[in-house]
């Protein structure tokens, strides 16, 4: 009742959608190109017309998820405009929460080897075209705007806060530690003094 069209029409988009769906249900290890193809009702090699190989599809899914995350970050920033400490706290909370609630997304975003790392040189960040940079920049825009802080000083603070948040997130997602109670409380507590001093 379905094979009405030889050409699918939106296969590329559907591969990404269904791919993400599959990921979330079976995990990265059991993810398979053929299954995604089946979910889209096409032959198992059809995806090769849109993606060079499995890795490329995964990369496309990563990008899609990253965009979603970026939107959320922007919202959080907008809701706390001009209150930099609040922004840092809000984005940090969002960072942890999003990844904990979407562990497969997390793996996509961070576990896969990435091409353009953020570069830190002589204590300062150097812009690259990587997606994460935009998140990072927004997160610490408050630090940068405080002109009483030198660039290499706020860069170090930024690195510290980000490392802290990222580490806590990673350990929660990978089940290295289990935090009983609201893990966002822990985030607040850990950041509190640092943020207070900073801005």
């Amino acid at each position: 009742m379905k094979k009405e069209k030889y050409h699918h029409g939106f296969l590329e988009k559907e591969l990404i959608e269904k791919g993400l769906q599959l990921l979330n249900s079976v995990g990265l290890e059991a993810f398979s190109l053929r299954k995604v193809a089946e979910m889209c009702g096409v032959s198992h090699t059809a995806p090769y017309r849109h993606f060079k190989n499995k890795e490329e599809l995964i990369y496309a899914i990563t990008t899609s998820v990253s965009d979603e995350f970026t939107s959320l970050i922007n919202e959080a920033l907008a809701e706390n405009e001009d209150d930099y400490p609040k922004q840092i706290m809000a984005v940090s909370n969002l960072y942890v929460k999003f990844m904990v609630e979407n562990p497969e997304h997390f793996k996509f975003i961070f576990m896969t080897d990435h091409h353009n790392p953020i570069i830190m040189k002589n204590g300062k960040f150097i812009k690259t075209d990587r997606w994460i940079v935009s998140v990072f920049e927004k997160l610490f825009i408050g630090l940068r705007k405080n002109e009483s802080i030198s660039e290499s000083s706020w860069s170090l603070d930024a690195l510290t806060i980000w490392s802290l948040i990222h580490g806590f997130t990673t350990m929660l997602v990978n089940n290295t530690i289990k935090y009983e109670g609201d893990y966002l409380d822990a985030v607040s507590l850990m950041l509190e003094e640092k943020v207070k001093i900073l801005v």
Copy 2:
């Protein structure tokens, strides 16, 4: 010239050794049971006499690597006995260095989903039998011994420091950021104030 014995003798140990070797050369994704078997000069199903499946072999390798890491930690602690701030710095440096220099080990130790997470409840750590706990305990033994600090307070500090170190490590290993220069300098800078205050 090799097939002298039907029974290998040390197959279990050699599977772990050669497995680790393979890991380090081709990475976790391309790791295959059959290749490991071949490297040991046995048939492709021989490993099944020693490990239930691929995952079990990987787990065994993890354990082996973890032990190696633990030994190094113990050394670092011994070298700085009774100087708790120095211990924390030394172990932190070791933590980052070991993982950056052995990225595949890192993936084994932390990326694979783990069974017994460290549990943090009501601001305190609860002991489980997981390997990482012993590292963790040693790392923060100095904090615990300082009786002017309450348990939930040093627990939070411990969580903060560990998150920071782990996050920085993770980002370096996954190429999320690239630190030009000696990344251990960054570790020192980030921890400096925290450690100074603490102990």
